[in-house]
């Protein structure tokens, strides 16, 4: 009898047959792709994010006005058709500057999230896969890191290594490692005792393969939720740091920095204090809505 002959795939599962190497791209995502169209908050979030990403990327090549070029004659122009967000104390167009600010916000989001994600994966896997003592030490260290309010830890890093955007991004990333690490650790521990992992172990699968093939796909879905919410968090933190002058340095116009500079001209040009904030709130809203949607999809009860 031919043992290798496979049973034919049941009609019901035809659509995901051969795709489920990544459960998160096949089964979980299959379901989510189906329901994503009906999830209003997910769609709204996605649209907002796409607009912000489009404006930010566009600003590398094109802004309506030069974001850095001073033009004293057109200073403090209130919002109008030619300057939708008005102009600042040097006559620079605020809309163009907000577009460039989007670049910085996304950059901060991406880099700090990558740091938090990789740090969290490494610490989480180490903690979840090793014995109790290593696990305990790592988790207590993570507790310690988590005890620092994010902004305070970022200020500590920046005060030692100097105030610039790179240090701020790294600091924001490091502060968020515990959140990712805990999630990865808890899921690793619960997966470790599942039959498919034990079975895979028994046929001698090596650890890297195991992590890549069995652990990551299962953890992936919940990590995507953390990643989107982390973007929102990183953008808000960077804005806070830049507002007190410890994040983005001049002349780069991050949204937080624009708000800081606006405060000297509040009576003359209130729009300077309003529009960068709106841009920031919209972006954060986008990521929050996206995160809510993704959370619903990764929740099996949904």
């Amino acid at each position: 009898m031919d043992m290798n002959k496979q049973k034919p795939c049941p009609e019901k599962y035809k659509h995901c047959y051969g795709k489920n190497k990544w459960s998160f791209t096949s089964l979980t995502f299959q379901r989510s792709r189906f329901s994503a169209r009906h999830h209003a908050s997910f769609i709204c979030g996605l649209i907002i994010i796409l607009i912000v990403v489009f404006l930010s990327i566009l600003s590398f090549w094109y802004t309506p006005y030069d974001a850095y070029q001073m033009d004293i004659r057109s200073r403090f122009l209130s919002p109008s058709f030619s300057h939708p967000f008005g102009t600042d104390e040097y006559g620079r167009d605020l809309f163009s500057r907000c577009m460039v600010g989007g670049q910085i916000a996304l950059q901060v989001g991406i880099i700090s999230t990558v740091i938090a994600l990789f740090g969290g994966l490494v610490v989480g896997f180490l903690s979840g896969m090793s014995n109790k003592i290593v696990d305990e030490i790592l988790m207590r260290l993570m507790d310690g890191l988590f005890a620092f309010p994010a902004i305070v830890f970022a200020i500590a890093i920046v005060s030692v290594f100097g105030a610039d955007i790179t240090n701020a991004m790294i600091a924001i990333g490091i502060v968020r490692i515990p959140i990712f690490a805990r999630q990865v650790r808890n899921e690793t521990i619960s997966l470790k005792h599942r039959f498919f992992v034990i079975a895979s172990q028994s046929i001698g699968t090596r650890l890297p393969v195991m992590i890549w093939k069995h652990f990551l796909p299962h953890i992936g879905a919940s990590l995507t939720v953390l990643v989107t919410t982390n973007f929102a968090f990183a953008i808000l933190s960077e804005a806070g740091l830049s507002y007190i002058g410890l994040g983005t340095q001049p002349p780069f116009p991050s949204w937080g920095r624009l708000l800081m500079e606006s405060q000297n001209y509040m009576d003359r040009a209130p729009w300077l204090a309003i529009f960068p904030g709106i841009m920031m709130a919209l972006t954060v809203l986008g990521f929050t809505l996206l995160g809510n949607g993704l959370r619903d999809f990764s929740d099996p009860r949904y």
Partner: protein, 312 residues
């Protein structure tokens, strides 16, 4: 119950230990010789060596950590290089404004979030519920400091109702004191309330659908009594730990909000110290903040334990 308290206390102490380790690592990671930095570039070698011995810099790094930890436990955070005073003294002198804002903000948070959260849950899926939850969404997406700027624009630039910044101590004029801290406290309170309203709402709704609530109603207990005596009591248990987190986040929020309203509290102190590279003060404030956060969580767990019989 006692064993839970002791276990919780132990993890708290270990976390403080981890905090000290991380802080020491961050603040001593800087390349370069601190003695050289203090004495300047043209200091002669013997003076540097003397200071190195005084600061224990000639010892290995592990030993230095334990010396430093010993001082820390005694409450000695070193001397500020800018103020020429012990760091503890500098921090304590900046505490009153920060504490005023934090306490008032907590009070406002409680006054805003509990009534609105309960109302929202009672009117579940009605217009009032949608209104409250969508307004609270706004509080989740904007940073507290921008709300502060908007308040400044509205209340002090436009209507001249409040001062545009500064702090009046309570002992000088209690009315002016309140006026100087109400806007920063309110901006932080709105952000925290948004989180809490949602938490309170979902927790109450979850408990409304529990079997015990139905049983109590079936027994003939009046609806109001079921809500006040049974549901509310149980629903507050998870809210409590979120409330603890909010205390910590309000405290952290004061750092930036103090800059918006130019209030001379811990946040301003931290900022000045960073600008003047007064690292002992920065380190002191950072450790202080982390320890206070751990302490708040510990207290919240203890309160949790006393009201939730399941933990005992």
């Amino acid at each position: 119950m006692l064993s839970f308290a002791i276990r919780r206390l132990l993890t708290g102490i270990i976390t403080v230990f981890a905090v000290s380790l991380l802080s020491f690592f961050v603040f001593n990671a800087l390349p370069g010789n601190p003695a050289q930095v203090i004495l300047g570039l043209d200091a002669d070698q013997s003076a540097i060596e003397n200071l190195e011995r005084e600061l224990n810099l000639d010892k290995p790094v592990v030993l230095r950590y334990f010396f430093w930890l010993g001082d820390l436990i005694k409450g000695d955070l070193g001397d500020s290089t800018g103020y020429k005073k012990p760091v503890t003294e500098v921090i304590i002198s900046s505490l009153p404004p920060t504490l005023s804002i934090t306490i008032l903000s907590l009070l406002l948070t409680t006054l805003i979030s509990f009534p609105l959260g309960i109302l929202s849950a009672k009117k579940h899926n009605k217009f009032m519920d949608y209104l409250i939850t969508s307004i609270s969404q706004i509080g989740l997406i904007i940073p507290g400091f921008w709300l502060g700027i908007l308040f400044l624009l509205l209340f002090s630039v436009r209507f001249h109702l409040f001062p545009s910044g500064g702090y009046v101590p309570m002992t000088v004029n209690i009315f002016e004191w309140l006026k100087s801290i109400i806007l920063p406290a309110l901006s932080l309170a709105i952000i925290s309330s948004s989180v809490l309203i949602r938490m309170i709402r979902s927790s109450i709704i979850e408990n409304m659908n529990e079997d015990y609530a139905r049983t109590a109603t079936g027994k003939g207990v009046s609806e109001r009594r079921v809500f006040n005596k049974h549901i509310l009591k149980n629903a507050m248990i998870p809210v409590l730990s979120v409330f603890g987190l909010q205390i910590a986040s309000i405290l952290a929020g004061t750092i930036i909000i103090e800059s918006v309203f130019s209030i001379p509290g811990i946040g301003r102190l931290l900022l000045y110290s960073v600008q003047r590279r007064d690292l002992p003060v920065v380190q002191g404030v950072v450790i202080w903040m982390a320890v206070v956060t751990i302490l708040i969580n510990f207290i919240m767990d203890m309160v949790h334990m006393t009201i939730d019989p399941r933990i005992r």
